[in-house]
Amino acid sequence: MRVRVLVRLKPGILDVQGAAVKRALAGLGFAELTDLRVGKVIEVELDASTPERARERVGEMCRQLLANPILEDYTLEMVDDLAPRGAVR
């Protein structure tokens, strides 16, 4: 079972990475850019009897370790296949 966790800074917390990347892209001429935020994606593969169970366990991992509740929110997404689909190499 594969679960994708997106960990992002909570709204209102200064995203130093995002701000710097945004500035850099603007400098490269991407004037149409209005906002950019950087977060983490954690792709988890685990044995679980049902998708619900998988989601539950990964949620537990987030609470215990993957996300820092003081700074970050997280969302879970179930994915069939974590191999980068249409990945550009």
């Binding site: 209102g12 917390i13 200064l14 130093v16 500035r23 509740p69 003081i70 700074l71």
Partner: protein, 740 residues
């Protein structure tokens, strides 16, 4: 005024941390109820953290004058003249509460704050030292804190580009619920180019520079003025995030702007942010300030005046420029890709007027804001004070094997090598670090001169707990001794006073006693206090930390080449012990490591002897007579000798007679002030003897370096005889073992 804001009442004032008396004082001076925004100003500026309400009456006892003092307490940092037209600017700050809530960002922003204190004075930061205290490292929660704090300091300091050259990490269970993160920073500036946090010149423009304002850290100052309890979690959203890259740009832009002469005064927006700057700067200059909060660069939408004034977003400064030179200031900040926005003017009349567009949201006298009430609360020694002191450690059994006891002590987390931390810090950027972390003090050269600076931080909470006055004086003596051992003359001191709640009589007593001890030591050792910080309310659910004053001492070496380090350099050097005989196991590291006891009396401290011992060590180093100098601190003489043997690149054995007789644990591991181990090349022994005779201090030869064993005798009995390799392994791996 803004209609949507809450109506201010006494209950609301209480919620923001003000007392009924304080609220009375506000309404009677203003002649009306304050607005919601004004209430915010008072709650932040009259918080313990900003206003030193409980400590001010005591801090006045510290000696702050001296021929070299260019700036004493009261500014962003203190400054000392070091000769050749240079001044060293330094200060220490705590970030204990934020680091407990979010260790990485809390420690990182602690570094950011102290760096800004230094460069607002016009100085380029050259070194950071971090003094850390944690609970027992065998506890997973503590390891998480250590990891977070060290990597936060590493990230911020390294990215900014200031080397971390020293500090300490010590462990005791009393810090488990409230770790200490104290950071000291030093900078260099031409002595005639010091800047101050002033708002002079009515009509001069007021600029906001640096990062945009968000809702982060609102009420940080109030948080630092409250103890932790089960509701600590709820206060979490106030955590700020550091941006060392912007800070580096801010440094370069500020120094560049200062060099043009267009800057009149500048202050860092630290605790209580804009509120603090817009009231303290004019209060120091007898002026006022009129600012439009709508012009403040904001990261979030819909911020209220209250939030804009109290935000503790990082990497921001307020500066007053000379009228007519606004363009120059804007141009320099734009070059460094930073916001510099004119938000108001310096005014006459002594009031802070804050507007939001056209509307006045606060109008209060700055002297009133800056002059919080002072308290003289009741104090009393703790009930078990005499009982703890009455304990005699010699009623405990001796260790079965002294070699094993020494090895255990060398591997105990407080004494073991802290390379695990220091190698995560850049130690050399700036090309000044002559002595890297790992010796008694760090030594930094001052380029373009023959001089160097030596710096050390010290503080032993166990000793202060057992005897606040003597323990605090010992912390001063030790920090100064570390500097003297390196060859530096101590010239200035900063402190960070970490205590529990001052509203408890026994804590306030500890604090008052500690201040007396520091004051007395500074007077005799002739070291002025030029800055410091008080951190109260370091307790969780009623359990206070050990009272922990951390002392940072800066010294000057006139000749940078005449310096010393603590490790033995080769075989057949003679080893001398300088200083008194008297030591005690009371409050010692050994008593804790071997017996888990914190009790007993401290050894006596004779400050006059301390002064002479330090002068003698400096004279020996300056005359080139010493190949190694090391003070005896935690773990006593045995640990000092073992450290001499194993802390250098190559271990060097040693054989010494530590006492004529008596209990070996006392002789080996007893701790006492004013004691220094010195190694001398055999050919220099006569010269050294002559110098010691002149110095009129107690001293004796105790042994010789060489071989691959550490042999320590009491009388003729070799109580310790161990391979130095084994000692080295214990010391190098002792701390890392916990962190792996």
């Amino acid at each position: 005024m803004t209609g949507a804001e809450p109506k201010v009442t006494l209950d609301l004032a209480r919620e923001t941390g003000l007392t009924a008396d304080e609220y009375d004082r506000i309404t009677s001076r203003l002649g009306r109820e304050p607005t919601w925004t004004e209430l915010g100003l008072f709650s932040a500026l009259w918080s313990e953290h900003c206003a030193y309400k409980h400590s001010r009456v005591f801090l006045g006892r510290l000696p702050t004058a001296g021929a070299r003092v260019l700036q004493g307490p009261g500014e962003n940092a203190g400054a000392i003249d070091i000769g050749d037209g240079w001044a060293v600017v330094f200060k220490m700050e705590s970030h204990n509460h934020p680091s407990f809530i979010e260790p990485f960002q809390g420690a990182a922003t602690g570094v950011g704050g102290i760096l800004r204190d230094i460069f607002t004075m016009g100085a380029r930061p050259i070194a950071i030292l971090d003094s850390l205290r944690f609970g027992d490292p065998s506890d997973a929660k503590t390891r998480h804190l250590v990891n977070g704090v060290v990597s936060g300091i590493s990230w911020y300091g390294n990215c900014f580009g200031c080397p971390t050259v020293g500090g300490e990490i010590a462990f005791a269970p009393e810090y488990a619920g409230n770790p200490l993160v104290n950071v000291m920073c030093l900078g260099l500036v031409r002595a005639d180019r010091l800047f101050r946090a002033r708002a002079e010149g009515v009509g001069n423009p007021v600029f906001y520079v640096g990062n945009k304002t968000g809702r982060d850290g609102i009420h940080g100052a109030t948080m630092a003025s409250a103890t932790f309890d089960e509701h600590a979690e709820e206060r979490r959203p106030t955590v700020q995030v550091g941006d060392p890259f912007t800070e580096k740009l801010l440094l370069e832009a500020c120094l560049e702007a200062m060099a043009t002469g267009a800057i009149v005064g500048i202050q860092d927006m630290g605790a209580a942010g804009l509120a603090c700057c817009t009231s303290e700067m004019p209060a120091r200059s007898g002026t006022g300030m009129d600012v439009d909060l709508a012009r403040v660069p904001q990261r979030e939408t819909g911020m209220t005046p209250y939030e804009i004034l109290l935000s503790e977003s990082q990497e921001r400064m307020l500066l007053v420029a000379a009228r007519g030179r606004e363009e120059e200031v804007r141009r320099i900040f734009a070059k460094w890709e930073l916001d510099a926005v004119e938000i108001g003017r310096v005014t006459a009349g002594g009031a802070l007027t804050a507007r939001l567009g056209g509307e006045v949201v606060a109008h209060v006298p700055v002297d009133f804001l800056a002059d919080a009430p002072k308290y003289e609360k009741p104090m009393a020694p703790p009930a078990d004070f005499a009982e703890r002191q009455a304990f005699d450690p010699l009623t405990l059994p001796e260790p079965a094997d002294y070699g094993t006891a020494l090895i255990e002590l060398m591997g105990s987390p407080t004494i073991a090598s802290k390379e695990w931390a220091s190698r995560q810090y850049d130690q050399q950027v700036g090309l000044n670090t002559l002595v890297l972390p790992g010796s008694d003090a760090a030594v930094l050269r001052v380029k373009g001169t023959s001089r160097a600076l030596a710096v050390s931080t010290d503080g032993n909470g166990r000793q202060v707990f057992l005897d606040p006055r003597r323990g605090a004086a010992m912390a001063v003596a030790e920090a100064a001794r570390n500097v003297s051992c390196s060859g530096g003359l101590p010239v200035g001191l900063t402190d960070c006073m970490n205590f529990g709640s001052p509203e408890r009589p026994e804590i306030l007593w500890q604090f008052a006693e500690a201040i007396e001890g520091i004051a007395e030591a500074c007077r005799v050792l002739e070291i002025p206090v030029v800055g410091g910080n008080v951190s109260f309310y370091n307790e969780t659910s009623g359990q206070a930390i050990l009272p922990t004053p951390i002392i940072g001492v800066v010294g000057v070496l006139d000749d940078a080449a005449r310096r010393a380090t603590q490790w033995f350099k080769g075989a057949a050097h003679r080893v001398a012990l300088l200083g008194p005989e008297s030591v005690s196991l009371g409050g010692s590291e050994y008593l804790w490591t071997a017996h888990r006891r914190l009790a007993g009396c401290l050894a006596p401290l004779d400050l006059e002897v301390e002064r002479r011992v330090q002068a003698a060590v400096r004279a020996a180093v300056q005359a080139g007579l010493a190949t190694a100098t090391h003070d005896c601190s935690e773990g006593g003489l045995a640990v000092a000798l073992a450290e001499g043997s194993v802390t250098g690149r190559e271990p060097v054995g040693c054989e010494a007679t530590v006492a004529a007789g008596g209990r070996a644990d006392l002789a080996l591991f007893g701790e006492g002030p004013s004691r220094v181990v010195v190694a001398v090349e055999p050919g220099r022994a006569r010269g050294f003897e002559a110098l010691m005779a002149e110095s009129a201090i107690p001293w004796r030869w105790i042994g010789t370096t060489g071989g691959d064993r550490l042999v320590l005798r009491v009388g003729t009995r070799a109580v310790v005889d161990v391979a130095v390799d084994q000692v080295e392994r214990a010391w190098r791996g002792g701390f890392e073992r916990h962190m792996a």
